[in-house]
């Protein structure tokens, strides 16, 4: 045991150090670039395990890729960027405590968002409490933007398109078809998911206005056992068009399996999510079955955008694979870093208050997902933001809508039979 004076001195030193830390941190995350050449700490919580782990791990790759890109170009304002990533296990409770820890214990200068709207909402509320901006790539449902904390602090910014608008090009295409060629009936099975359902509901409203009769419209619990009975009911309805509110590959595949078992093949099969997972989707459902299936997406590996092309090259160099192996999650995550970098450079520091003001100033930024322009609640309302519909065509994942856009292929309609 050490002598008492030494212990007293240690205690005094600890109190002094703690006080210094508290004073240093009392500036509401307003470290400035000139304060030191220490790294800029940026905190994030990601779903490295649990329900969202596939996407969470893709986001982790994106964030780390952005970090290494920035640092290899001299960092931000001459300072290296250091990411602190905690695992939230896909839990909304854990994500809130993680951001609390990042801000109050790790003393990060900036925070960037977790994966999914479900987790971004509680995370952004914590960030708002401390005046931190929260740029997010995968939290673009209304409940993230229209929340008490964001309406008060306006700290949420999403470079991705608002989820509700994802299927607008698809609706416009149906509208462009001669009435005799349009599907007459539609089914809208929706797995209960904050990301998957809003675009389907928006599409349903618009398609109903076009005179397309709704023959099935139900929200299903996100339980594997619920998919087959629902899919059988859709098949029994004989709907000519199915717009599926699917959150992932298994939910789409479960419907596809049931449709094949019931010898049912709709003329149009549109999914909110799942087919956008590249080879993961193709290997799950098979090349022949995938043909004709459509999905909205803001980004894909061959997206014609200079920043995107560079990111794809760097991604392949760092992680291997091909452009088609890169999921949209990566672009969503990477664009978060780009927005943060632009804001730090423009405000010459990491003062969150200035960053929030800057991002709300009407500025237009360029990201790997296209241009970004935020409205008062942080939604990307840029008319040039990436918003496309893709279709699987004989093993290729092709952009098909909008029809006149650069890189769009002719759409396959009606959908060919399963396996053909």
């Amino acid at each position: 045991m050490r002598p008492r004076p030494a212990r007293f001195l240690s205690l005094a030193a600890a109190i002094t150090a703690s006080t210094a830390v508290l004073v240093a941190c009392s500036s509401n995350g307003s470290n400035t670039a000139s304060s030191s050449k220490s790294p800029i700490l940026i905190g994030a919580s990601l779903s490295l395990t649990g329900d969202f782990s596939t996407d969470g791990l893709a986001f982790q790759k994106a964030y780390l890729l952005w970090q290494s890109d920035v640092n290899s170009h001299g960092g931000l304002l001459g300072r290296q960027v250091k990411l602190i990533i905690l695992n939230d296990g896909s839990s909304p409770t854990t994500v809130a405590s993680n951001y609390q820890k990042l801000i109050t214990v790790n003393h990060v200068a900036l925070t960037i968002a977790p994966f999914s709207s479900l987790l971004t909402q509680p995370a952004s509320a914590v960030a708002a409490r401390y005046g931190y901006a929260m740029v997010n790539g995968a939290g673009s449902t209304d409940n993230v933007f229209i929340s008490k904390s964001n309406e008060a602090v306006h700290n949420v910014f999403s470079p991705s398109l608002p989820v509700d608008d994802y299927m607008v090009p698809f609706v416009n295409w149906i509208k462009s078809l001669p009435p005799s060629q349009r599907p007459r009936t539609a089914a809208y099975p929706m797995v209960n998911d904050p990301f998957a359902d809003p675009p389907v509901q928006t599409a349903q409203k618009a398609l109903k206005a076009l005179g397309i009769k709704t023959v099935y419209s139900k929200v299903l619990p996100a339980e594997v056992s619920a998919y087959k009975p629902a899919a059988d009911q859709v098949a029994a309805s004989g709907a000519q068009m199915v717009v599926l509110g699917s959150p992932d590959v298994p939910s789409v595949n479960a419907f596809m399996q049931a449709f094949q078992q019931q010898k049912y093949n709709p003329k149009v099969f549109m999914c909110a999510s799942g087919p956008d997972q590249g080879t993961a989707f193709l290997s799950a459902v098979g090349k022949a079955n995938a043909t004709g299936i459509m999905v909205p997406n803001g980004w894909y590996g061959a997206y014609n955008n200079p920043l995107s092309s560079v990111m794809v090259e760097e991604y392949i160099a760092k992680y291997g694979g091909t452009a088609s192996d890169i999921s949209a999650d990566v672009a969503e995550g990477y664009s978060v870093g780009e927005v943060v970098a632009d804001a730090v450079k423009a405000t010459h520091g990491t003062d969150n208050k200035k960053i929030i003001q800057y991002l709300h100033s009407g500025v237009t930024l360029n990201t790997v997902q296209g241009t970004v322009h935020f409205d008062s609640l942080g939604r990307n309302v840029s008319p040039n933001a990436a918003g496309f519909i893709f279709q699987w065509q004989n093993g290729s994942y092709n952009q098909v809508l909008p029809p006149g856009a650069s890189g769009s292929h002719p759409i396959i309609y009606p959908k060919p039979p399963w396996g053909g």
Binding site: T49, T54, V224, Q257
Partner: protein
């Protein structure tokens, strides 16, 4: 409407049989060892991955592969018992087993992530998307085979329990461990073998789950365990036939409610559990009945 109800009942019978396959092992383990195996869900996924490896890398048919995966899962079960369950002693054994088997689930999940990555995979066979038309409804072969397998498995387990010396040892252990020891039964051995059998049958449930779920990854086990627990509680903890009856009963009710409101289907699933337990606290084929058998 008549057709929808008919289809819902058929779906309930077929999908219920699949869940019954997965729940049988859980209830067997509880019946003999008095422990709740929280790892049962992830063990189902291990069974699915074993079938996946045999199917994709060795091109072995999913059903033929069971001749390999069932013994493999039996060995895994024995290993888990000796490493994690056997050391548990005393009055707190049952509650401690919850923590121990949860730890097992986490360890297995970590290993699966490491080996297979988080990406979804699925099991394929000609019978997964093919079906036979019966009374105006297409019955998928995979579900028909799974239902037949579930019934065969339950009959086989009953044959083991009631027609073999080992089965008598199990039943004696279920009724009174001390008395079983006094008549010379090696209770530890019986417990280990029973745990092994309880895990081995998950290979069958895992294969069918992997083929019918649309895809699975190492995290999929957590979706299963709450439902499996509800099924074995409703069926009567320890009752093998009860697990099968309860799963068919609950999934059929869920399918029927699904016609009107899928959101309420899951509520009704658990409401049915509560109502049955109020009326008959030991479940549909509860332990008292099981022990009388």
């Amino acid at each position: 409407m008549g057709r929808l109800i008919y289809e819902a009942v058929i779906d309930g019978l077929l999908v219920g049989a699949v869940y019954g396959l997965m729940a049988v092992g859980l209830t067997l383990i509880f019946g003999v060892l008095d422990i709740i195996n929280i790892a049962q869900g992830i063990l189902v996924i291990v069974g699915a991955y074993l079938s996946y490896v045999l199917s994709v890398h060795l091109h072995i048919d999913l059903f033929l592969g069971l001749f390999i995966t069932v013994p493999a899962m039996f060995v895994i079960g024995i290993a888990i018992y000796w490493a994690f369950i056997r050391p548990l002693r005393g009055a707190e054994r049952t509650s401690m087993s919850l923590l121990a088997t949860y730890a097992v689930a986490l360890i297995i999940e970590g290993v699966l992530y490491w080996v297979f990555t988080p990406g979804y995979v699925e099991l394929r066979g000609w019978y997964v998307t093919s079906s036979i038309r019966l009374f105006g409804f297409y019955l998928p072969y995979i579900y028909v085979f799974a239902a037949a397998l579930a019934v065969a498995l339950v009959l086989a387990l009953y044959a083991v329990l009631y027609r073999t010396r080992f089965g008598r040892s199990i039943r004696a252990t279920v009724q009174d461990q001390t008395a079983a020891r006094l008549v010379g039964i090696n209770v530890n051995r019986v417990a280990a073998l029973t745990f092994g059998i309880g895990v081995a049958v998950t290979a069958v449930g895992g294969m069918v789950y992997g083929a019918t779920s649309g895809g699975f990854n190492p995290n999929s086990g957590y979706d299963l365990i709450s439902r499996l627990l509800a099924i074995v509680i409703l069926g009567g903890l320890g009752s093998i036939a009860g697990a099968l009856v309860a799963s068919v009963f609950m999934i059929t009710i869920e399918s029927l409610v699904d016609i009107w409101s899928p959101s309420w289907a899951i509520v009704v699933f658990y409401a049915a559990l509560v109502i049955v337990l109020i009326v008959h606290p030991s479940g549909l084929l509860g332990r008292s009945l099981t022990r009388e058998q």
